[in-house]
Structures are given as C-alpha cells and as structure tokens.
C-alpha cells in the first residue's frame, strides 16, 4: 500500500505542476521571485500537497527497503495513471505506450521477486567493527 501511494501521488502531483507551470507562461532566471510566487497558484499548490503525501510514503518505504528496490517498484504508478487515463478519461493508448506499460510491468515483476533489502550479514558487521575494537584495546 505504501509503495502504491508513492507510485500514485508522484505522477499525479507532477501532472498538476505541469499544468500550473504551463498556465503561468515563461519565467526568466532574471526574476527568481516569480518561481516562488508560482508555488501559491492552485494547480501548483495541489501538486505540492500530492507530493507531500508521496514524500511521507517514500520516506517510510526507504526506511525498510533499498533505494534500488523502491524506485523501480513505484514506477508502476505510471502504469496505473495510464490505465486511469484510458478507462476514466477515455484517452487512447498508442502501441508505443502499451509497450511502455509491458516493459514497466515486467521490470517491476523482476525487482519485486527479489529481496527488498540488501542483507548485511552479522559477520561482515562484526568484521568491520573488529579493527576499531582492536584499536581500542591497543590504546
């Protein structure tokens, strides 16, 4: 569920940001204040709320799984958004996008079948701690 929330909130939040930024028009680096003001427009604010939900779920997932497990797995959210667009908004899905959906699904299947966390055996932790312990004894 946590990984699902990460996958859903991120693309939805990005979509809100994209719509908000395109509505604003061109912003120059000479006026950086315009970027700050953009944060308070409705679409950008909605995007930020969704991204806060994404970030809380993302942090929780990272506390018990590897980064290289969490990132590919949560990319499945793109597939969910594509299906929502197809069946809810009745947008067509091209062959290219179907290929993308298949590749992501196969990729997530690959990574989800493996361990979510790199095992660090007790011996290796003890071995890395050993020189420090010996150094303490010498002192």
């Amino acid at each position: 569920m946590i990984l699902g929330l990460v996958g859903l909130c991120a693309p939805l939040g990005d979509t809100c940001l994209s719509r908000g930024m395109t509505e604003l028009g061109s912003i120059s680096l000479n006026h950086p204040g315009a970027l700050i003001a953009a944060v308070f427009t409705p679409w950008i604010a909605s995007g930020i709320v969704l991204l806060i939900g994404f970030f809380a779920s993302y942090l929780t997932a990272l506390s018990w799984a590897d980064l290289t497990f969490v990132l590919p797995t949560t990319a499945f959210g793109n597939v969910i958004v594509a299906f929502l667009a197809r069946f809810w908004l009745h947008e067509p899905i091209s062959i290219q996008r179907w290929a993308g959906i298949v590749l992501i699904t196969v990729g997530v299947g690959f990574v989800a079948n493996g361990p979510s966390l790199t095992e660090r055996p007790a011996e290796s932790i003890a071995a890395s701690a050993l020189p420090a312990a010996e150094e303490e004894q010498v002192r």
Binding site: T60, L62, D66, L71, Q96, R97, G107, V108, N113, G114
Partner: protein, 133 residues
C-alpha cells in the same frame, strides 16, 4: 516533442535535464542513507508514536542534506518545464534518474544491485520513457 523554438538550444536543454537528474539522484541517495541510519519508521512509530517518528526524521542532518538536493531538483524541474516540453523533460529525467540511482545506490549505499535489479532498472527506464513520451 523536443525543444520548443523559443528554447535556448540543444546544449541548454541537456544542461537543464542533467541538472534535474544529478540533483535528484544526490537527493535520493542522501535521503535513502538518512532513512537507513534512522531505522524502520514503522517500528519507531509503534514505540514512540507519530511524533517520535517525525522527530527521528527531522533531527537527522543527512535528511536535510537530501531534502536540500531534492528541493534543488524540484526548482530545476519547474525551470526546465517552463522552457522545454513536458514530453521531453518528464520521460528523460524520470528514466535517466532510475539508471543514475542504480549506479549511485551500488557505489554510495553499497546496495546489492544484482542482475535482477539492473534488468529491472533498464526495463523500467525504457518503459517510463515510452509511456511518458
């Protein structure tokens, strides 16, 4: 797709996307390192409640380093979206970040990025590009 006619050019587009990808990768690696150093948030929440979990996160210096880079990546993305097409920025940055994170995860976080994870990273990278294109 590609760069709009009003855009500064190919190398500027590459620079903007590289800025998003590199700052995002640095932020995600630092944040992952911070969360690993804190421990399982579900366990912390079970013992100390939600406040304890929030306190554990916000008192970790690595977390703030990670968030700073993620904030940089966020504003770099806003800037890139303002100058380049979404159909270029979204797939390029999303797919490249997966690969750079796999490399950075192996080098800096010492994660076991085996053949299974490399395959997944490459498949999802190409898939995200095709889907978001």
């Amino acid at each position: 797709m590609t760069v709009p006619s009003s855009s500064p050019g190919l190398w500027s587009a590459v620079g903007m996307i590289a800025a998003v990808v590199l700052s995002s990768t640095a932020g995600e690696v630092l944040t992952a390192a911070a969360m690993k150093s804190i421990g399982d948030l579900d366990d912390i929440r079970a013992h100390s409640g939600m406040k304890g979990a929030i306190r554990a996160v916000v008192t970790c210096p690595l977390f703030f380093a990670g968030v700073s880079f993620l904030a940089l990546a966020f504003f770099a993305l806003l800037f890139a979206l303002n100058h380049l097409d979404l159909s270029l920025v979204a797939p390029a940055s999303a797919s490249l970040t997966l690969v750079t994170n796999a490399i950075a995860g192996k080098i800096f976080l010492k994660e076991n990025v085996d053949r299974r994870r490399w395959t997944a990273a490459v498949l999802v990278c190409v898939g995200v590009y095709l889907l978001a294109h």
